[in-house]
């Protein structure tokens, strides 16, 4: 199975497996390595460890070999651990599958039993069971399984319910597949992996429980166990602590091995899940963009204009940010020194360059082909630029590169020249709107806080002031009852309303540049039209620059001054929107225009036949 290979390539899993294989070998070879009953007296009592080569780890009060005990104890530990986990898994899987498939009353009843077993401390249950039935290895196994089956049962049921709702199960039903075959072929194989990952944890818990039981004297008295060795050593704890310490170390090593293996398995599963997602998202901080300073306008000398200066602007450079603020008002920045350009006109000529990329290439970590290759593109201050491309065209990568929001490990070559010398600071100089408004808002914070936080940070406002600003923004994006919304949570809003909130949050600190990365693709068309109109209005009203990323050529045509067509990480064509769309030069653009469908496009079928 591919999963096993994936798992073993992970160092933690390999280490865990090595520990467990070693232990299993020791356990199997115990009768050969240390023949005879490890419970029999072998030598002088209380030999100190590392003194007698015959007893490397010493002897206990009765003169029994500690090393032999540990090796033989591994047999009990591993056997009980595995057997109990198998039993728990067998019960748990059956109950979970039964509950998940049966549904209704049977599900309800089974789950209440599962609840009961989860509520009773499993160690107490095992204790009671062993003490009532009498200690022996099979009873201990059963006692541990009794306390451990509820977790896998609950997980199995949850997975069955989740998988049952997937489209591929619906597709199997549509295909006319028998319910039993659906259960066995479509559902079960996809339910098992997470349950297996849990089973490693159950093995560890079982090993620890067995040890604790025998430590309390409730293990099988006829076999040697690590727990009973630790308990035995406790009687001479002051003089010979090693008697308790060595078997304990063996126990810790075993459980660490199991945990490492389980972690490898879980990570391999997570890796598999992320492969299933089309665009794997990456964690962490984005790398700084190489940024080269052009001489700033207005004859000011560059203060932070080191070529290839690799970082976001220092505080002192904030005055340089080139972007005209919303509604011509100059925000009172806390950082100071921003006044110098406050008389800059809010709307600037089309010729004013805002930024220009040269030979910009981006390669994501662990990917061979670059997401963006040798891109040269200029953005003019105050324009509305639409970046149009299909999936894999690099349009989102471009947006993130501009905003300095590339994932960690992304390799950037080439330069982005900002007219002001320093790259804009996301949030302050640049507002960013993401595709899926349901995902881009934090589910547990209020709308008010999420709109206000950017304003508070970048405009130097207090929380009450920032909330007032948030209220203003919510009105501006035409949300009903903005006062009430401040205290509302994202889940209380519709998709379109959430995107309005996201726009309000992105624009709260009055950035001069807005980058919207497919802001309407997750919404239906009526809402899409409203959101586009809103963005257009806000941007026009404030003379902001808009970079609008979309896959929809007509959506862009509606309001963009200029379009840039991307394909496979490269720029195909750019120019004034009307000109490019009316008379595309490149074949790809022609194809895009030809593929576009609106209400005037000829239908592919004739009128209704009799």
């Amino acid at each position: 199975m591919k999963l096993v290979g994936d798992m073993l390539r992970r160092p933690e899993a390999a280490a865990g497996l090595a520990i467990l294989v070693l232990l299993a070998l020791l356990a199997l070879l115990a009768p050969v390595l240390f023949p005879g009953d490890p419970l029999k007296i072998a030598g002088r009592a209380l030999t100190a460890p590392f003194t007698d080569p015959a007893f490397p780890l010493g002897t206990d009060r009765l003169g029994r070999d500690v090393l032999a005990g540990i090796v033989h104890g591994a047999r009990t530990s591993l056997f009980v651990g595995l057997a109990a986990a198998l039993a728990a898994l067998a019960i748990g899987l059956s109950v979970g599958l039964a509950a998940g498939f049966a549904g209704g009353i049977a599900d309800e009843a089974l789950m209440r039993v599962v609840d009961a077993f989860q509520i009773v401390p499993s160690f107490l249950l095992a204790l009671a069971f062993v003490s009532v039935v009498g200690a022996s290895v099979p009873v201990v196994v059963l006692a541990i399984a009794l306390g451990a089956w509820a977790d896998p049962a609950r997980l199995t049921r949850a997975e069955v319910l989740s998988v049952r709702g997937r489209d591929y199960v619906a597709a199997a039903r549509i295909a006319g597949m028998h319910p039993v075959e659906i259960a066995l072929r479509e559902i079960l194989p996809n339910v098992l992996p997470p349950v297996l990952a849990l089973s490693a944890i159950i093995v560890a818990t079982a090993i620890l429980t067995e040890a604790a039981l025998s430590f309390l004297g409730l293990g099988d008295p006829n076999v040697v166990t690590w727990g009973s060795m630790i308990a035995e050593g406790r009687n001479v704890l002051r003089s010979s602590p090693f008697l308790s310490i060595f078997p304990g170390l063996a126990l810790v090593a075993t459980v660490v091995g199991v945990y490492l293996l389980s972690e490898g398995l879980t990570n391999a599963l997570a890796g598999e899940a992320s492969v299933e997602r089309k665009k794997p998202r990456r964690v962490g901080k984005s790398p700084p963009l190489p940024c080269r300073a052009s001489p700033p306008q207005g004859g000011r000398s560059a203060s932070g204009g080191n070529p290839a200066q690799p970082e976001a602007p220092e505080v002192g450079e904030t005055a340089l940010h080139p972007i005209s603020p919303l509604e011509g008002e100059m925000p009172g920045r806390a950082e100071g020194g921003a006044g110098a350009e406050s008389d800059r006109p809010a709307r600037r000529g089309q010729e004013d360059l805002l930024c220009e990329t040269q030979d910009l290439s981006v390669t994501y970590r662990d990917q061979e082909t670059p997401a963006l290759t040798n891109l040269d593109l200029a953005i003019r201050a105050g324009e509305r630029l639409a970046i149009i491309g299909e999936s894999g065209s690099g349009k989102s990568t471009f947006a993130r590169a501009l905003a300095g929001l590339l994932p960690e490990g992304a390799e950037v070559e080439g330069t982005v020249d900002w007219a002001a010398g320093a790259a804009p600071l996301a949030g302050r100089d640049l507002g960013f709107v993401l595709q899926d408004p349901s995902a881009s808002l934090n589910p547990v914070l209020t709308i008010g806080e999420q709109v206000a936080e950017g304003a508070r940070r970048h405009l130097g406002l207090s929380w009450p002031e920032a909330r007032a600003r948030a209220l203003d923004m919510l009105e501006r994006v035409r949300l009903p009852e903005p006062e009430k919304l401040l205290a509302a949570y994202p889940h209380q809003l519709s998709g379109g309303q959430r995107q309005r909130v996201a726009i309000a949050a992105a624009l709260a600190a009055r950035p001069g540049l807005v980058i919207a990365d497919e802001p309407t693709s997750a919404l239906d068309m009526v809402v899409q039209a409203e959101i586009v109109a809103l963005l257009d209005d806000l941007v026009r009203g404030a003379g902001m620059t808009l970079v609008f990323i979309t896959h929809d050529i007509a959506l862009a045509a509606g309001f963009a001054d200029r379009v840039a067509i991307f394909k496979d990480g490269a720029l195909v064509e750019t120019g004034p929107a009307a000109a490019v769309l009316a008379a595309p030069r490149e074949t790809y653009t022609k194809m895009l225009v030809a593929s576009h469908r609106d209400l005037a496009s000829p239908p592919l079928v004739g009128e209704i036949r009799a």
């Binding site: 989860q118 009773v120 107490l124 204790l127 430590f215 949030g427 949050a505 600190a509």
Partner: protein, 329 residues
Amino acid sequence: MTRALRLTTRRALSSIPVLLIVVILTFLLLETAAGDAVDAYLLSIGGGDAAIAETLRQAYGLDQSMAARLWLYLSALARLDLGWSVAFDRPVLGLIIERLPNTLLLMGSATALAFAFGSTLGILAGARPGSLRDRLLSTLSLVVYAIPGFWLGLVLAIVFAVQLRWLPTSGIETIASGRTGLSRAADIAAHLVLPVGTLALIYTALFLRVMRAGMAGIWRLDFVLFARAKGLSRVRIVLRHVARNALLPLITMLGLQAAAMLGGSVVIESIFAIPGFGRLAQEAVSGRDAALLCGIIVVSAVLVILVNLLVDIVYAALDPRVGTAERGA
């Protein structure tokens, strides 16, 4: 907080059948043990004749049908009569109530400490998944969480009580010391350092791992990217956006761990000779006192239900989505 109230009421009502199942479970255990208990009792009082045995069996209701005995057991429980402890020759409930405060003190302080340290360290590890700090903390916590509590207790006792002689090894307080007030509190605290430390260390490792894993998952979500796009400070992103959401699975874990913690009290209290709930369970085992053991199980189930209700309230306060229907697409 009508939302939380509604939710809590519903959960409380739904735990009634669950508790009933637990009671039936303990009844079955008692049934298995009942014959033994009579023999054990007779043995403990130095043997007795068949007549005494018959009287005892009648007293236990062993001459009636199983259903009748279950009804008897249930109605006794409804009257808060958990039965008679053979080992202590006292009512079970009184015994448990006497021992409970020590255990609650032990568990409460260990959980509070572990939560404080575990969530803080978890945030430190989860602030930059994959960093050296994260890998160090994650590995360390994996090893610590693999240590069995009773063995860790012994090792700590060897080091701090036997070798260094800093702390007392056993008991909840110095016997017959005649201390009162603050002095008594300090004495109890000194006695609790090792057992609480042992439990807290292991649970710190667990909470660290849960917090860290939660944060690692949340970093991939869009709202974190959006928070970065808003130019927020790293501290605010880590605490307010990532950690705040990762707190939710940790709270859930607290409820799930309540049962495991009560179970773990048996070994810890037995090692440090703390006269608590868990040690009572061990004494019940050695005294072959099934009634006491079953009483302990029923009471611990009730405790776990109560802890979970509390956890539900906290969760509902932290997650506005709870108790409302999530909008579908």
